[in-house]
């Protein structure tokens, strides 16, 4: 049974907010310890793997941006014999914003435009729940002799939310 709480949601503190134009890194040093919601493997030094077909993280801003932002995520797909590609779909607060088919085992930068109306106003700030759908995620144990039971699809390394004026997004 779900436990109900009568406590009011706490307002966000200054440390809870992300900032436009600031690159942040996955891994134990920053994002891996702060912004991840569900579907993630244990944070490693400088990256986070997803663990399962959906991984979610949250971004928060002090206020809803007035213009489009560009979400830029650096990482590399999990490819192996029998896993020739990774399909990646990004949903932001339920909006489907981008799809990528990754077939090369090299570092890639995934970029997706987030419109102002996609942001939700919550707890005194703007919130975006990013859900990464990774249906091709595979357990290394199932395709080789290793004991790794995580279900891997994409290795997340860094993330930047660029304001429109810095990226040159055109409408």
């Amino acid at each position: 049974m779900l436990k109900q709480s009568n406590d009011e949601p706490k307002p966000m503190t200054s440390e809870d907010f992300d900032e436009l134009g600031v690159t942040r890194f996955f891994g134990r040093g920053d994002i891996g310890a702060r912004n991840l919601l569900s579907g993630w493997a244990e944070a490693e030094d400088n990256h986070n793997w997803n663990d399962g077909p959906e991984a979610a993280l949250v971004m928060t801003l002090r206020q809803r941006p007035e213009e489009s932002c560009l979400l830029s995520v650096e990482g590399r797909p999990f490819l192996a014999p029998g896993v020739p590609r990774q399909d990646v779909t990004l949903f932001v607060n339920g909006f489907r914003v981008a799809f990528w088919r990754l077939g090369a085992g090299e570092t890639v930068i995934l970029e997706a435009e987030i419109e102002p109306e996609m942001w939700l106003i919550r707890r005194g700030g703007a919130l975006a729940r990013c859900a990464w759908h990774l249906p091709d995620s595979t357990r290394p144990r199932d395709i080789s002799g290793v004991q790794d039971q995580r279900q891997l699809g994409f290795c997340f390394q860094s993330m930047t939310l660029w304001p429109r004026r810095q990226t040159g997004i055109r409408r």
Partner: protein
């Protein structure tokens, strides 16, 4: 920054030719904080980053937990640079710029080609050649290089007239020096070089680093930084001698500061003996300095102990760095000769610490020693 303290922000940055910037940044005062950096290109913020990547080398060097690295691709931002630009890294909370570099093509004056041609003609003339008109398609750099090469060949053919390259010496690098020798450059760079070269071996033996402070008496002293490996060199023609020495003391890493003046003497024997003395004494003064200080301190005689059989050294003062810092260093308000500034410091130091007096033999060619006959 007081001697012995760390700067507010520590960090290293490298900008690769492909525009990838990588490095680390850490604050000793906020050791667990992931610092936010602004990367400036020509003074404007081009990118920002939270330095939180793990770097094993940073952890091994005890800079926090090692999660203070970063890497950024500045390819797009740097591509907008039309000419040269300054790329800098600034820690946001403190506003401290802790790294910067010049990136891009250097602008050249409009008459650059004319000046290069004149230079090439001058070089040709020096070598006794007829000035040759430059080839129409020759680049400026190639034209000068060709002229220098031709002049060198002619001079070499004449035999013996090609100047030998300047002598070089490399001081041993000491990661944690016990002694920092702070040497005032004199008015003859060659004499200074000879002194430093003669001292190289003993500096290594006593685990000492050498800081040369140059007030600009001889412009050739600037070349010593290139001719002497591992030399730490400070050049400031505007500061007074006390300020120059204080600045050098701030950057010293040794526990003991030894202030020497350049006398042209061999200092190797003297440094060895002084290092022995510093194992038991916190404060050692040159005889001339002690004589001056004695004039201003009534009971100085009881606090000055003469050291017998001192080899020549050109010593003004040797003092533990902690005592130097405790007394605030040299008085920069005194616009005076180094000897008077050192004597004023010694007079203050004698109030808290007896001094050993370095009774070195006076040399007739030591102008600083003239007139300062020891009164002990």
């Amino acid at each position: 920054m007081p001697p012995g303290t760390l700067p507010e922000i520590l960090g290293e940055v490298a900008l690769d030719p492909d525009g990838v910037l990588h490095g680390w940044c850490w604050s000793p005062g906020r050791p667990a904080e992931r610092l936010t950096l602004d990367i400036l290109v020509d003074g404007r913020v081009a990118a920002s980053v939270v330095a939180s990547r793990f770097r094993e080398d940073v952890r091994d060097r005890k800079f926090g937990d090692g999660y203070h690295g970063f890497t950024l691709a500045l390819t797009r931002q740097l591509a907008r640079l039309e000419q040269a630009g300054i790329v800098a890294a600034r820690e946001r909370a403190s506003g401290q710029v802790f790294w910067q570099t010049l990136r891009g093509n250097f602008a050249v004056p409009a008459d650059f080609a004319v000046r290069v041609a004149a230079m090439a003609a001058g070089i040709n003339g020096c070598a006794g050649m007829l000035p040759a008109p430059p080839a129409p398609d020759a680049g400026a750099g190639r034209m000068v290089a060709a002229a220098i090469g031709a002049a060198g060949r002619i001079l070499a053919a004449r035999g013996g007239s090609v100047p030998a390259p300047p002598a070089r010496v490399t001081l041993a690098y000491t990661a944690a020096p016990r002694v920092t020798v702070i040497l005032d450059a004199g008015d003859d760079a060659e004499r200074d070089f000879a002194t430093i070269a003669a001292a190289a071996k003993v500096l290594a033996a006593i685990q000492a680093e050498l800081l040369l402070i140059d007030g600009g008496a001889d412009p050739r002293c600037a070349m010593l930084a290139a001719r002497v490996g591992n030399l730490r060199y400070f050049h400031d023609t505007r500061a007074n001698p006390a300020a120059r020495r204080n600045m050098a003391a701030e950057y010293a890493r040794g526990d003991v500061l030894v202030f020497l003046r350049m006398t042209g003497r061999r200092v190797d024997l003297g440094l060895t003996a002084l290092e022995e003395a510093l194992r038991t004494d916190r404060l050692v003064a040159g005889a001339g300095i002690a004589s001056l200080a004695r004039l201003g301190v009534p009971d100085a005689t009881s606090r000055l102990v003469a050291a017998p059989d001192c080899p020549p050294l050109g010593l003004d003062l040797a003092v533990e760095r902690s005592l130097f810092a405790e007394l605030g260093g040299f008085d920069e308000g005194l616009v005076a000769h180094n000897a008077f500034v050192a004597a004023e410091f010694l007079a203050r130091a004698l109030a808290v610490q007896p001094a050993l007096v370095w009774l070195e033999p006076r040399a007739p060619d030591d102008p600083d020693a003239d007139g300062f006959q020891p009164l002990l």
